[in-house]
Chain length 278, copies 2
């Protein structure tokens, strides 16, 4: 038996999240169906992160075991021919026996993407911002208030490090042994989209919040992003963020930013840290 690691990109708009569910389209379900069409076998895959409905990925990972048959270097091509256009296998590689996309993951990077729009009105008083989001509505969290980026960067720095992140955990996830996690980096990058694909991108500003950590609690990145937006709009003081974390109280943190702004960018394994021993 070979152990195969898939790297997967997907547009989460049309899926009820990663995890397989009866009678609902999910990313895991579509990939297992495609594996069945390609190999004729029922193959179960283990994903690194169970992304929620509407959340996207550029670098989700999953492992499965497979016997003889399709060569490893044809798996991505064969699956892509069988998968819907919104799910793409970026690569498939063989790993040592027992390698597991979830248990062997050492960390992940998520991106949370904001679209910063001023509150505009057209001649009729109708908010122009509504039109702006026609084509990007499923891929970004639109914020119509001015945001104080310096305050957000200060708050982001306070979120880095090893903390009990219970304040950034939503109810409803799996039970965890501990709510202590290490956030290696929270990086804010703003850029202006000069001439994009859609007219709505013209003169829009994108603010990406890239969060890298060793693990994440349920909805943690979305609550971090919502908290940063609340800091940027003055609802929460940047200087208060350490106390919010200290409190371990979900009520003291900011709102949960919506799923469509979230992208699972990359999963890190032992060898990504440069001291693998395969």
């Amino acid at each position: 038996m070979r152990t195969i690691l898939l790297t997967i990109a997907y547009d989460g708009t049309d899926y009820y999240g990663w995890q397989i569910q009866p009678d609902l389209p999910t990313v895991q379900g579509e990939i297992e169906k495609a594996l069945h069409r390609v190999t004729g076998k029922e193959i179960h895959i283990n994903g690194t992160g169970r992304t929620d409905r509407g959340v996207h990925a550029y670098g989700q990972c999953a492992t499965f075991r497979i016997g003889d048959g399709i060569p490893t270097d044809r798996i991505a091509y064969a699956l892509n021919n069988s998968l819907p256009g919104g799910i793409r296998i970026v690569s498939a590689e063989e790993k040592p026996e027992g390698f597991h996309a979830r248990f062997d993951a050492k960390g992940k990077t998520y991106r949370y993407r904001l679209l910063l729009c001023g509150p505009h009105e057209d001649a009729d008083g109708a908010p122009q911002a509504q039109r702006q989001l026609l084509y990007l509505r499923n891929y970004v969290y639109q914020v119509n208030r001015p945001l104080d980026l310096a305050a957000m960067r200060k708050a982001a720095a306070a979120m880095e490090g090893t903390h009990d992140f219970a304040c950034f955990q939503a109810a409803g996830g799996e039970e965890r042994e501990t709510t202590v996690r290490t956030v290696y980096r929270v990086e804010l990058t703003e850029r202006c989209l000069e001439e994009g694909f859609f007219p709505e991108e013209e003169s829009a500003h994108v603010l990406d919040i890239d969060v890298t950590g060793d693990g994440f609690l349920y909805n943690m990145v979305r609550i971090m992003a919502g908290t940063l937006v609340d800091v940027g709009s003055g609802r929460i003081g940047a200087a208060d963020v350490p106390a919010v974390i200290e409190s371990a109280d979900r009520e003291k943190a900011g709102h949960t930013a919506p799923p469509q702004g979230l992208y699972l960018m990359r999963v890190y394994f032992e060898e990504d840290f440069g001291h693998g021993e395969e």
Copy 2:
């Protein structure tokens, strides 16, 4: 009674075209439902063009009649609050009694959008182009062959003017009195997307084919776009396009480009030609 002209933008991905159909989501159906929610009345709207399933619009038009009640300058705002995010009312304006979005239209501009990608393979031999189209797959026609733009521009010029365009008409549309139409302009604009919203836009080339005419036969723009792609890839000679039109034979023209690359950009009425007499 007031006569109201709506200008409408929509993402056609989730709709079975413009025209209302029982039990299927359509753009006209969603707008009539929203009008009912906003006014409490059953109001029928007349659209300018019956776009097909998957076709988009930035400037579709539609008219309807309405009595007292909601002020004209609040209609767009009220409808947008009631419509799904993929349909946006750009404007609502009062027109003279009897004005009709379809019968008073003097012309339209459609855009057909191609994404030009070289045939790339990654290290595993899997076509990279498949990944590139994850997020733009519903908004563009991806072409992986090199295209001869000079030949396409020559063919485009041959499509301009007043001709019997029966060769560019698909079966299945409404019956028309004549297949003679005037195409005022076919313009090709290529541009490179430097740093777009999605990574797949990086270094992609967009080729827009903008077609303005007094009227269009069923699938005419999609067949014109497919014919131009066939000219660009050498399947049809640019010098043969006048004879293709002359033949009035659908079999001699090129393939029908897929719906997701097509956008209804603008509808022209009498006053847009500068000699209105309202």
